[in-house]
């Protein structure tokens, strides 16, 4: 970790003023990812602007239009356990609680969750080239050990995955990201917040220089009756997803009125395919229909040497999440999954 100045901002305006756009100044909130990356000399900052003390109005505010506005500075734990989130957006609660550990969730903020970097082993190893860390240096993951890497939306320059669980639920819910910056405030639909790697894998998202996330707005429809967050990983807790699925349904009797499906662990951003969701609309919530939607979602998936298993895993996870969404009692830790004899 190299040397940096530290300053505390007491307001959003002070924070934005504290970032000199042309220098290596960075905002720090929870610090759980940034400070780790500074220790590895992967991120660098000449100045850290601490935004933990900015004055924000209520952590979570019910807006007149039915949206729930979550402060970007609220911790992941406070968000997951907030009564309004638990009641109206249990998919978001479950996704947050599937990520990291209790200690990290007590520190990490909502804004920071969106801004976390990939956990690609090559990105984390300064001895290796990495187009995300050093543009133009190459991507050893393409022909290296790529078991954790992406199967969708990859480019010849980067096959890293975005590691967040929370963001998979936010994508499914259709959240909107509120940001402020030197040129004012703007709102970014969640699907347009993160980027695919393309030729610019060093850019994870579409924030402009100096911009800071101030809030995340959840639309009125929370899918609180039929939802599931299914995370598949190498151990049962405190591990990043191989594949995760955030699935939400609004039912009309036996038929699906609206479906939302987002995948984590498979791409450089949470992966949603509107065609697959449209396909399910008006159809029965059967394993066969979920499997057909899964085929649409995984269309164009490309496997590398060690991660071919993810394609089949993702398809089966979608079918299973569909069944779990119809039986929310199967979500509790330690609960047995429903029988899959008919799948």
């Amino acid at each position: 970790m190299h040397n940096f100045f530290y300053t505390r901002a007491n307001s959003i305006e002070e924070a934005i003023d504290g970032i000199r756009v042309d220098s290596a100044a960075k905002y720090v909130a929870g610090g759980t990812n940034l400070i780790d990356l500074l220790k590895y000399n992967i991120e660098r900052a000449d100045v850290l602007v601490d935004v933990n003390h900015v004055e924000v109005f209520p952590d979570a505010e019910q807006m007149a239009d039915g949206c729930l506005r979550l402060s970007a500075f609220m911790t992941n734990a406070d968000t997951a356990y907030h009564p309004l989130v638990e009641k109206k957006y249990p998919l978001l609660s479950e996704a947050i609680l599937a990520g990291a550990s209790a200690q990290i969730r007590n520190m990490a903020t909502n804004g920071g969750n969106l801004l976390q970097r990939t956990r690609c082993y090559y990105f984390y190893d300064p001895a290796m080239p990495c187009n995300k860390r050093e543009p133009g240096s190459g991507c050893p993951a393409l022909n290296g050990y790529n078991r954790m890497m992406a199967i969708l939306g990859t480019s010849s320059e980067c096959i890293a995955v975005f590691p967040s669980d929370m963001c998979v639920a936010l994508a499914a819910l259709g959240a909107v990201v509120e940001v402020e910056g030197p040129s004012g405030q703007r709102h970014i639909p969640f699907s347009e917040f993160h980027r695919l790697p393309g030729r610019t894998p060093h850019l994870d998202n579409n924030l402009e220089a100096g911009e800071i996330i101030t809030a995340i707005c959840l639309p009125p429809e929370g899918f609180s009756r039929n939802y599931a967050y299914l995370k598949l990983r190498d151990r049962n807790s405190y591990a990043f997803a191989l594949v995760s699925v955030a699935l939400a349904l609004e039912m009309d009797g036996e038929c699906i009125r609206e479906a939302r499906i987002a995948l984590g662990g498979v791409a450089h951003k949470p992966w949603r395919v509107p065609d697959a969701e449209d396909f399910l609309q008006g159809r029965e919530a059967t394993p066969g229909n979920f499997a057909a939607a899964a085929d649409l979602i995984l269309q164009g998936a490309q496997a590398f040497e060690h991660n071919g298993f993810k394609i089949e895993l993702a398809k089966k996870a979608i079918v299973r999440a569909g069944k779990m969404a119809l039986h929310p009692e199967t979500h509790l830790p330690g609960a047995q999954p429903p029988s899959f004899e008919n799948l």
């Binding site: 040397n3 940096f4 601490d50 209790a102 200690q103 520190m107 509790l332």
Partner: protein
């Protein structure tokens, strides 16, 4: 008043980065309450809370396991919440109230969890134990763990390489909710 700095990683720093790094950065005074005592330390901005507690305040019960947020050995309570002291900077915690394993007992009366860890043989090498106990205290205050499965899930941020996990969960279950789970 101690001035502490990190020298350990200087050799590995890219010389270009070191040359362009800001110079003449002065230590800041961090005033916080540690184990019920108000304390001030002089630290440079990049010193972690973990290093400040261990090196400036000699609270070596706080363990430096991985130093990257993966093991939970450095868990302390900050304003009543369990956090990882390795992933936060001391300067960020100015004004906070910190409790380490050294501060959980009441004078010579062990915290019930400390006694339960002894009674349930919940450690072997003991390296993860301070973090496990601070984490379990935080978990009980959060009040979200009802079943044994939920305790296991909510304690997953603390790794035990000796394999004492089963006894650790036993010890926590024996104390949680006033011992009604024993």
């Amino acid at each position: 008043m101690l001035i502490i700095s990190r020298h350990t990683s200087m050799e590995t720093i890219n010389p270009e980065i070191r040359l362009s790094a800001p110079e003449h950065i002065a230590p800041s005074t961090v005033t916080f309450t540690v184990n019920r005592i108000q304390t001030s330390v002089q630290v440079l901005p990049w010193v972690s809370l973990l290093d400040a507690l261990r090196d400036a305040l000699d609270l070596t019960g706080v363990k430096k396991g991985c130093d990257h947020g993966q093991c939970g050995a450095c868990t302390v309570l900050c304003d009543g919440k369990r956090i990882l002291s390795c992933l936060t900077l001391a300067v960020m915690k100015s004004g906070s109230e910190i409790t380490t394993i050294e501060g959980v007992a009441e004078s010579d009366q062990l915290h019930p969890l400390q006694q339960a860890f002894i009674d349930h043989d919940a450690f072997q090498c003991g390296y993860c134990t301070p973090g496990q106990i601070c984490s379990a205290i935080g978990m009980m205050q959060e009040g979200k763990a009802r079943t044994r499965a939920e305790v296991k899930e909510l304690m997953s941020g603390n790794l035990c390489r000796c394999g004492a996990n089963t006894n650790i969960i036993d010890a926590i279950m024996a104390v949680k909710d006033g011992g009604t789970n024993a």
